[in-house]
């Protein structure tokens, strides 16, 4: 299991577009991918699940991955968040 903490830094937070990108990415891994925010844990492969977190800019979240490609999954997800979901230049 891999556990990484990171901060949401894109202006709009985990809104529809960002959440869609995140769940799309999570679905490309074998590993289970979850996001924890505010003591709530959701399946990152579910767009709806991510949206229910309502995580916005400045919030700190935890990415948890478990499975054969957990290392890569965690790093790639963190990278997407740190890249601000490619929304801002």
């Amino acid at each position: 299991m891999v556990e990484i903490q990171t901060e949401i830094i894109n202006k709009l937070g985990l809104h529809a577009r960002a959440a869609a990108k995140l769940s799309h990415l999570a679905n490309s891994f074998n590993a289970e991918v979850s996001i924890v925010y505010n003591e709530v844990r959701v399946n990152a492969k579910s767009l709806l699940g991510i949206l229910t977190l309502a995580a916005s800019v400045g919030n700190s979240i935890t990415v948890i991955t478990e499975g054969s490609d957990e290392q890569e999954a965690a790093a790639t997800v963190k990278n997407l968040i740190d890249r601000k979901f490619d929304e801002e230049k």
């Binding site: 809104h15 577009r17 709806l48």
Partner: protein, 580 residues
């Protein structure tokens, strides 16, 4: 009989069209059990409904993309993706399986769950998602029916009226027919239907009271979303007036588009900045379309009309944060409560004063009773998540007040830090120059204040000791009074000397001749009623500052206000005969 109903205008325009009342008929759904051996076929029935809904949404999304581009189609694209969400679908199937019930009932249970979940989120943008969930789930239910509801999409030139409208329905209507206007009794600024209407520049009003019950389908109605009025059963005369208003607005819009595309530079390439003064949060929706670069003055007194907001840090925090996000990367300047002069209200118990305009108001009031100010400051500190908020204090008289206010800020900042509620973004702090004595204070404020704001309405009143609303003496209230001009000159010199910036935000910033006077004197940042921005930008982009400077030099030698004004305007007209 003619009747006018008012609401909050979102997208400006004037249109006359036929009322089209959209009412979503929701059928009551009852719990219907099925026998164990029917469960498998019920699952298939459900998945077929899902499949059909998916292909419908794909089609709507494609049509929308064709008409408005990828960005707008995202709304429906997201719904499509939600409909493919395995967790969502599996949770419905689980209910069908475990409880042996029909799909409709299972869908309704899940809808209830998510509506509750999203309703508890305070952030409006996320809360809005409950409408998407409802929208897609009801689409499945409709597709499961043997006789489906079909939208009548024939008539054109309609003004759509509804309580609220689900996004996918709005998208279908908007792409299929000509909608002139949108009126929503409930709808909120962040709802998808409203965002779509904004993208299409369809005149939109929200928050109209009771209109759904008053309007008749197919009848002529007028929407005036410049003002925020809906006119039902208009008289012939009224229609004529609005046809004229519609035409004027179209001319203004074409002109506006041309002017707004220009860079914010004078003819001789000096940069200037025009931002918006706003009073209510909903105005922040449109400032961009008026050409404003950010909000130079957000008056927060309205909070006092809604009791629960003034005392709720959480509500204010969300409100400020939302507006800051909207104007990003431009700035949002929030002025703390400027109350206590004209209106009394229930919150602040105040002794009646002989001379309220010289009495306990604004910062003076809150330094005595700091509770509400602290709430506001905490909300602002927290809301500054992207770092584009500026905090502005009104009615500063002396240095001591600034020290006290900064002490409050620093205490609250530390508290918020230990509560983990604040980011490390810097919050710029500024003061209003509106009391004449403050002019002499500027030179001492290099290390205390980050920026200044010139509240010219009050400054002129206090400088000349004139109540401008008193018609017996209002002739004395004139910005071209040489003492006023001299004070303005001194303010700019003092502010420049300590290396700070100043924004003019009174009426003189949004009025052609005075704005030009200020520009020629060297002021470059102006905040005004958003509607004035186009006109001021037109003037500024046409003119050479160097020419204005020469004209203004001559003015300093004159003593009579009327002579000063005439000389100024005539000199400008000599070089730019068509300017005004």
């Amino acid at each position: 009989m003619e009747k006018t109903i008012s609401g909050n205008p979102i997208t400006s325009g004037v249109e006359i069209g036929y009322a089209f009342l959209f009412q979503s008929k929701e059928n009551q759904i009852f719990k219907e059990s099925i026998s164990r051996n029917k469960v498998k076929s019920e699952e298939v029935r459900f998945l077929n409904g899902v499949k059909e809904s998916q292909s419908q949404l794909k089609k709507i999304s494609k049509n929308l993309e064709k008409k408005l581009g990828k960005e707008s189609a995202l709304i429906i694209e997201t719904q499509y993706l939600l409909l493919k969400d395995k967790e969502l679908l599996n949770s419905i199937i689980a209910i069908i399986r475990n409880e042996s019930v029909k799909s409709e009932w299972a869908i309704k249970q899940i809808e209830k769950k998510y509506i509750e979940l999203f309703s508890n989120i305070p952030d409006l943008a996320f809360q809005e998602k409950r409408n998407d969930i409802s929208d897609i789930l009801n689409r499945i239910i409709n597709n499961l029916k043997s006789n489906k509801i079909k939208l009548n999409t024939d008539n054109d030139n309609i003004i759509l009226i509804a309580d609220d409208i689900p996004p996918s329905i709005a998208a279908t209507l908007i792409t299929k027919r000509k909608i002139l206007g949108l009126i929503l009794e409930k709808g909120c600024e962040t709802s998808h239907s409203v965002i779509l209407a904004k993208t299409l520049e369809i005149p939109t009003i929200i928050g109209t009271q009771n209109i759904v019950n008053l309007v008749e389908n197919g009848k002529t109605i007028i929407i005036d979303s410049i003002k925020g009025d809906v006119i039902l059963s208009p008289k012939k005369k009224t229609i004529e007036i609005y046809l004229k208003k519609k035409k004027d607005y179209q001319i203004y819009k074409t002109e506006k588009k041309k002017v707004l595309l220009l860079p914010d530079k004078t003819k001789d390439l000096i940069n200037f900045q025009l931002s918006a003064n706003i009073e209510f949060p909903f105005e922040s929706e449109t400032v961009n379309s008026y050409g404003a670069k950010g909000i130079g003055l957000f008056r927060t007194e309205f909070l006092f009309t809604e009791s629960d907001i003034a005392i709720s840090e959480e509500k204010q925090y969300l409100l400020y944060k939302n507006i800051a996000q909207k104007v990003y990367p431009d700035k949002l300047t929030i002025r703390t409560f400027d109350v206590g002069r004209d209106k009394t209200n229930d919150f602040i118990k105040q002794e009646k004063e002989q001379n309220p305009a010289l009495g306990t108001m604004a910062v003076r009031l809150f330094l005595k009773e700091p509770k509400l100010l602290i709430t506001q400051i905490r909300a602002i500190l927290r809301a500054n998540e992207i770092g584009n908020i500026k905090l502005l204090f009104p009615m500063i008289t002396e240095f001591e007040e600034i020290i006290e206010l900064k002490k409050i800020i620093s205490i609250e900042k530390n508290k918020l830090k230990s509560e983990g509620l604040i980011s490390d973004k810097i919050l710029e702090i500024g003061i209003m120059i509106e009391i004449p004595a403050t002019i002499k204070l500027i030179r001492h404020l290099k290390d205390e204040v980050d920026f200044f704001s010139l509240g010219s309405n009050d400054l002129i009143q206090y400088l000349l000791a004139v109540d401008r609303n008193n018609s017996a003496i209002s002739y004395l209230y004139k910005p071209f009074n040489p003492s006023v001009i001299d004070a303005l000159k001194e303010i700019l010199e003092e502010v420049t000397k300590i290396g700070k910036e100043i924004t003019v935000c009174g009426e003189i910033a949004g009025n052609g001749p005075t704005a030009l006077l200020l520009l020629g004197m060297g002021f470059t940042s102006f905040s005004m009623n958003p509607l004035s921005i186009v006109e001021i930008k037109r003037l500024f982009t046409t003119i050479n500052i160097s020419y204005l400077k020469n004209v203004i030099k001559k003015l300093y030698k004159l003593t009579l206000k009327q002579e000063i004004k005439n000389t100024f305007i005539n000199s400008i007209l000599k070089k730019y005969p068509e300017l005004f």
